[in-house]
């Protein structure tokens, strides 16, 4: 009999190290803080008793999905704010190593959906997610899944740069510190800043306050901060909307460089940005939800970006991308 191969989680940070973790524990912990710390520490051996619920995915599957394998599998997902269904029945698969853009008019639920991808809504009372949302095969909202671990593996960069009022160094070191990652912190900070294309601009002033940086630099710092926590996925919620065109292009270039290491999902109002940076585009719109008699966001079309912008399959997409909406 062949011994069961333990799926491994491989860290790809060049400053760090390669390590193996039992796959079932990527998202799950018994006691949130203590357990996640233990599991995210280098050299942790597979501990069968750590498994809270049986894995739903086939045993032996490599949890670091190969290029192009689904990283998010979403089926009939609805998100409610109290009784209001903000997003209804979204089904789509996002693939590893690709940049997926969410586009659509205001109120179509694209940010709501993005936030459900790393359980950001857990922090808002009354928000409920229905349907199935799998991350590398695991139910993201399953019992025993630690939202803190989820948010480390699936990082978020926000619309407005939001560095902590601390030094540049401390901003980047924050994630690895609270996750108690066993890394050489100086190296980790440097690598994250290099990956975020900010190192050369700040290497001589790491101890100065992050708030002194320009808007574009602050946003790249926020990306460095997300990278330092060693995520698999980076979610970006209109990351360039507060930036000038030059800073915007730098972020877009950066996204292209990062996509070999991270899966990126970006919400953008800028059609040309979606066309420039993404491999796949999902177009959402808000329409009257017959069930609730209110407007709810829904997915209209999800396809290769090139297809969406040259010959979309749905008239609503056509009208929106060509600026004739409504």
């Amino acid at each position: 009999m062949t011994p069961a191969v333990h799926p491994t989680f491989t860290c790809r940070m060049s400053c760090g190290h390669r390590r193996s973790l039992p796959s079932a524990s990527i998202l799950m912990t018994n006691s949130r803080s203590a357990r996640s710390r233990e599991l995210l520490t280098e050299g942790t051996e597979p501990q069968p008793e750590a498994t809270v619920t049986p894995r739903l995915a086939p045993v032996g599957r490599d949890t670091v999905a190969p290029e192009g394998a689904p990283i998010f599998e979403i089926e009939n997902l609805s998100v409610y704010y109290g009784t209001f269904r903000a997003v209804r029945d979204v089904s789509l698969n996002m693939r590893k190593g690709q940049i997926t853009a969410f586009i659509g008019p205001s109120g179509c639920g694209k940010t709501t959906l993005l936030r459900s991808l790393n359980r950001m809504h857990d922090l808002i009372p009354g928000v409920r997610v229905e349907g199935s949302l799998r991350y590398q095969g695991d139910d993201l909202y399953g019992p025993g899944v630690d939202p803190v671990v989820v948010r480390r593996l699936i990082g978020m960069v926000f619309q407005r740069p939001n560095p902590f009022p601390k030094s540049i160094y401390d901003n980047v070191a924050f994630g690895p510190k609270i996750a108690k990652l066993d890394v050489n912190m100086n190296e980790c900070v440097e690598q994250a800043l290099r990956k975020a294309a900010l190192w050369d601009e700040v290497k001589d002033r790491l101890k100065t306050s992050a708030t002194q940086l320009s808007g574009g630099q602050q946003q790249r710092l926020c990306i460095a901060r997300a990278i330092a926590a060693q995520p698999d996925v980076i979610l970006m919620d209109e990351p360039c909307s507060a930036l000038d065109p030059v800073a915007t292009l730098r972020i877009e270039d950066l996204m292209q460089e990062l996509k070999s290491d991270y899966t990126i999902v970006i919400v953008t109002h800028n059609m040309q940005q979606a066309a420039r940076v993404s491999d796949m585009t999902a177009f959402f719109t808000a329409e009257v939800d017959a069930e609730a008699d209110r407007r709810a966001g829904l997915l209209v079309e999800f396809d290769r970006t090139e297809k969406i912008f040259t010959s979309p399959g749905d008239e609503r997409t056509e009208s929106y991308v060509s600026g004739r909406f409504g």
Partner: protein, 219 residues
């Protein structure tokens, strides 16, 4: 959205003006054929002189299309339309050049042998019919007419093969210049028809977004 409405209007005007270029090309071809069949050198000279106007109009249309691309960043159907307009206007411009080449052969000294002239006349009629259909496909955005052009071009290709076979049988002192000029005229008419077919493929792509039409166009 006033700006968007103006953009749509500009696209519409471009569509009509591309067809005006098509009319100019069509007139050049019919003029060249009249000159060839009627041995009328003055008509031939008019066709040759008229090409400068076609070229100048083509350049203004091209500039207008580039300006719309640059300023409006078109996508989806608008993008397909503008890219197609650029392609179609180039095909009309080249059609005009081919007509000039036919007109130039009228000015050359070669024996107007009746069978050859008959075959060239037939090719000219077919090429003009195809060109007319290409214009209709573009102007009316008619997918059926557009996609049928390829099939109809086969008849003209067959006539050209007949012409070549006939020319190969020619003998005597006048044969070399006859073969040279008649073959060139036939080849130009055959290319005029090819441009019409390409316009049809381009219209098919514009209307459907189906990239296989682009592949057909490249053949």
């Amino acid at each position: 959205m006033a700006t968007r409405a103006q953009f749509q209007e500009a696209l519409e005007m471009l569509r009509v003006d591309v067809d005006v270029l098509g009319v100019m090309a069509e007139q050049a071809v019919s003029g060249a054929m009249r000159a060839l069949l009627g041995e009328d050198e003055s008509v031939a000279s008019d066709v040759i002189a008229g090409d400068d106007r076609t070229d100048a109009f083509f350049v203004t249309l091209e500039e207008r299309a580039y300006a719309l691309v640059a300023q409006q960043a078109p996508v989806a159907a608008d993008l397909r339309f503008l890219m197609s307009a650029l392609r179609v206007m180039a095909d009309y411009e080249k059609t005009g050049d081919r007509a000039v080449a036919v007109a130039k052969s009228v000015l050359a000294d070669w024996e107007r042998e009746p069978v050859t002239i008959g075959l060239l006349g037939r090719m000219g009629d077919l090429a003009l019919t195809l060109l007319g259909s290409a214009r209709a496909a573009w102007l009316e955005q008619d997918l059926f007419v557009a996609s049928d052009l390829k099939r109809r071009d086969d008849v003209l290709d067959g006539t050209f093969r007949q012409l070549v076979a006939h020319l190969l049988t020619r003998q005597g002192p006048g044969a070399p210049s006859l073969v040279l000029h008649a073959h060139a005229a036939g080849r130009n008419l055959e290319r005029i028809a090819d441009h019409a077919v390409i316009i049809g493929e381009r219209v098919s792509y514009m209307l459907t977004g189906d990239p296989s039409a682009l592949a057909a166009e490249a053949r």
